[in-house]
Symmetry: C2
Subunit: 221 residues, 2 copies
Amino acid sequence: MSLVRVHNFSISLDGFGAGEGQTLETPFGHAGSRLMEWAFETRTFREMGLHGTTAGSRGVDEAFASQWGNGVGVEIMGRNKFGPQRGPWQDEEWKGWWGDNPVFHTPVVVLTHHPRPVLEMEGGTTFHFVDADPAAALEQARALADGGDVRIGGGAATVRQFLEADLIDHLHVVVVPIILGRGERLWDGLEGLEERFDIEATPSPSGVVHMVFSRKAAPQD
Amino acid sequence: MSLVRVHNFSISLDGFGAGEGQTLETPFGHAGSRLMEWAFETRTFREMGLHGTTAGSRGVDEAFASQWGNGVGVEIMGRNKFGPQRGPWQDEEWKGWWGDNPVFHTPVVVLTHHPRPVLEMEGGTTFHFVDADPAAALEQARALADGGDVRIGGGAATVRQFLEADLIDHLHVVVVPIILGRGERLWDGLEGLEERFDIEATPSPSGVVHMVFSRKAAPQD
Ligand SMILES: NC(=O)c1ccc[n+]([C@@H]2O[C@H](COP(=O)([O-])OP(=O)(O)OC[C@H]3O[C@@H](n4cnc5c(N)ncnc54)[C@H](OP(=O)(O)O)[C@@H]3O)[C@@H](O)[C@H]2O)c1
Ligand SMILES: NC(=O)c1ccc[n+]([C@@H]2O[C@H](COP(=O)([O-])OP(=O)(O)OC[C@H]3O[C@@H](n4cnc5c(N)ncnc54)[C@H](OP(=O)(O)O)[C@@H]3O)[C@@H](O)[C@H]2O)c1
């Protein structure tokens, strides 16, 4: 069975995966770019073409960042990661933050209570808008993954749901030494989560701490 | 000017410094001993005589734990660290969790809205019950410290107040890889705290991550 993985999910010391007030100009709300700065410096993120043009680092941050694509056949993301619109779609011209040729190059399942037609992008990315609980969404994603692993791309509300449903095998969380004070919390409702995972922490010279949660038991199904 | 320091303050991944439901049998509420287990294994905590009799570790956990007493002339603690009673004292026989000869061996200022007479214990510990805001409590503590540093001993509500008032020079926080889900949060109300501190993270083989916050500017006064 393919694995369900989270990579590069960045939270503040107080546990927020995004700030308050997401808009077109501020995809992370009042957090600005602070949660992702460690990643923007890496070779992997530079090669996505969105975050500067110099070569990018090859240290421990890159070692972790580079894992996100290996063997992944599909991403599942929440509707708020896809864009800043809320409620029924006002503007179906919106095609995500990532331009005409998005960085994913696989099918992407966008969870939403407001389904809309499939969006085919350049470079192999297709956005599928799906209204389903985590288990059903995972089944649909696996059907699109061509045998590859499933990446849960965030945001916090989405990762949390899959953790609650005990569907995640590998969770890479990056703790950034800032206190955001408000936003979307990752850990809410997950008391006792540590019992299901082996946990390893690795600090980076950049100041972040990489935490890897590896599921103790094999996936149940 | 003497320094104001926090040592060995242990929080869960979701930021709680104690669980819910503190009682005489469970000083950390539903957290049980999980927040402090890393410390109980160290030589410093073993020598306090409260947590087992074998020799104790001398690795990175001990290196941090052992800083707790060096040069400290007084502790300030919250009333909930002192004991499980709430509201007006029902039982003035209660003398803290630490027996007749407490581990402090210095004056200890206990913050409370319900002052009571000074308690003199064996071994140099005296408990002073003080109703004062952080700045005034610090002044009283310094007068008792005989030139030594001031340790802020917790719990979360107390550390948080002194951080809000920008009175802390050195903060050692230990992040324990558990999700408590409920209890007293350390970081609430401290948005932007990182701007005032240099922050360093060191993981331990025990699984915890030591975080040291060193104040950027010299104390203001
Ligand atoms: N920290 C990181 O590493 C990271 C990673 C990715 C994204 N982000 C940031 O995180 C923020 C978004 O995170 P978020 O926690 O606010 O939201 P999110 O997880 O991206 O999306 C939540 C929304 O998705 C829809 N949804 C989720 N589960 C569903 C289900 N089972 N069935 C139907 N619809 C479902 C709902 O929208 P509707 O009901 O409106 O359809 C829900 O409000 C953005 O600011 C983004 O930039 C951060
Ligand atoms: N994680 C750790 O490393 C660590 C360290 C120490 C303790 N703890 C645990 O933390 C828990 C206690 O923490 P907590 O956050 O609940 O409470 P706390 O900080 O120990 O005490 C808070 C109480 O102290 C009094 N107080 C605080 N500031 C005051 C002020 N400026 N003026 C007057 N009174 C003031 C108030 O009590 P009244 O109004 O009732 O007088 C307040 O409710 C305990 O479970 C303890 O075992 C954990």
